[in-house]
């Protein structure tokens, strides 16, 4: 696992006990993870406003926060193990205790990070739910005595970018719905067979 020179510079600062005593170091790690994983909420105070960080020069703080965030994301992206992370941070002259602190914090947040990274990206419209309506048609202004059952199916879909999207709706006869369900069941059976391989 490799970090850019800028990130490495930030970690070297983080590793320096004169610049970053124990408490601010722990506070920055917490802040870095929170800033990536917490949902942005209106009215939330800026995460780096931790009282333990008030004595640190703002430029240094910004540099170190960026370095920490970069390392977290890179480790998450590569699914790096502890030894790879440790090696990387050793190269930045961090002592064993601080490396262990980071790794512990990383382990705690690993799953949430993986979910977050996995959800980024483009994909076709995603179906989240379906609703249906069964009606019995009696007549319309062009034709009387039609006497036919008909289904109205609505698929709720989500866009990976913007979240919402107008639903896909269509009508179908009983035979067509049977066809649709049959095909969906084929897909499900294929899935089951694939997972058993």
């Amino acid at each position: 696992m490799e970090l850019s020179p800028y990130a490495q510079g930030g970690w070297r600062l983080l590793g320096d006990p004169r610049r970053f005593p124990r408490r601010p170091f722990a506070a920055l790690l917490r802040a870095a993870f929170r800033s990536l994983l917490d949902h942005p909420q209106a009215g939330n105070s800026f995460i780096l406003d931790d009282p333990d960080l008030k004595d640190i020069d703002p430029t240094v703080l910004k540099h170190c926060h960026a370095a920490a965030a970069t390392c977290i994301l890179e480790a998450g992206k590569q699914k790096a193990d502890i030894s790879a992370i440790s090696t990387c941070l050793e190269d930045c002259k961090l002592d064993k205790e601080r490396i262990e602190q980071f790794c512990t914090e990383y382990q705690k947040n690993k799953d949430a990070l993986e979910i977050l990274l996995g959800s980024i990206g483009r994909s076709p419209l995603h179906i989240t739910d379906v609703s249906w309506r069964l009606e019995y048609q009696i007549k319309n202004n062009q034709l009387h005595k039609t006497y036919q059952p008909s289904y109205l199916v609505t698929l709720n879909v989500e866009n990976s970018d913007s979240g919402s999207h107008p639903d896909v709706s269509f009508s179908c006869t009983m035979e067509q719905l049977q066809d649709l369900v049959g095909k969906l069941k084929d897909a499900a059976k294929s899935l089951e067979r694939a997972t058993q391989m």
Partner: protein
């Protein structure tokens, strides 16, 4: 060839069209049809031909009239495909199964195709919900209504 004016022909055709479409639309019985044209005072032979014309073409006329009704996009067919996402720019070493589908719909003579995707859990949920929908027609409530509407 018929030695009749253009206007007369036009009115005749319009009259016939009206007679046939209205009768087909209302799906009137033979008896009702005969009673209706009785008032026109045609010969028995002509009445018989008209009745036959009605009965022969009723089904086709009704299917054409059916196309004029307001319609939502309707189902045509579905294609599907199993995918497994292995990696993305933001995350390596994934195993993310998904079902990608192409839903073909008919809308006013155009055919549209929409690409959609879903995960295995949602797929099973969709199947369960739609099977419930199909089962409804077999329930007593629906059966009773269908019986009584005819």
């Amino acid at each position: 060839k018929l030695n009749v004016g253009v206007d007369t022909i036009q009115h005749g055709v319009e009259g016939l069209v009206y007679l046939l479409t209205e009768s087909s639309k209302l799906m009137i019985s033979e008896v009702d049809f005969q009673d209706s044209i009785q008032v026109l005072g045609f010969s028995d032979e002509l009445n018989k031909s008209l009745l036959q014309l009605y009965l022969d073409n009723r089904k086709e006329i009704r299917s054409i009239l059916g196309e004029l009704a307001p319609r939502l996009p309707s189902y045509h067919s579905l294609e599907w495909r199993l995918d497994v996402q292995l990696a993305s720019r933001s995350l390596r070493q994934q195993i993310k199964p998904a079902v990608t589908m192409k839903l073909h719909l008919n809308q006013n003579e155009d055919q549209t195709a929409q690409v959609l995707q879903t995960d295995p859990a949602t797929l099973l949920h969709l199947i369960q919900q739609l099977e419930q929908a199909l089962g409804e027609m077999k329930m007593n409530h629906c059966r009773r209504i269908v019986r009584n509407m005819k």
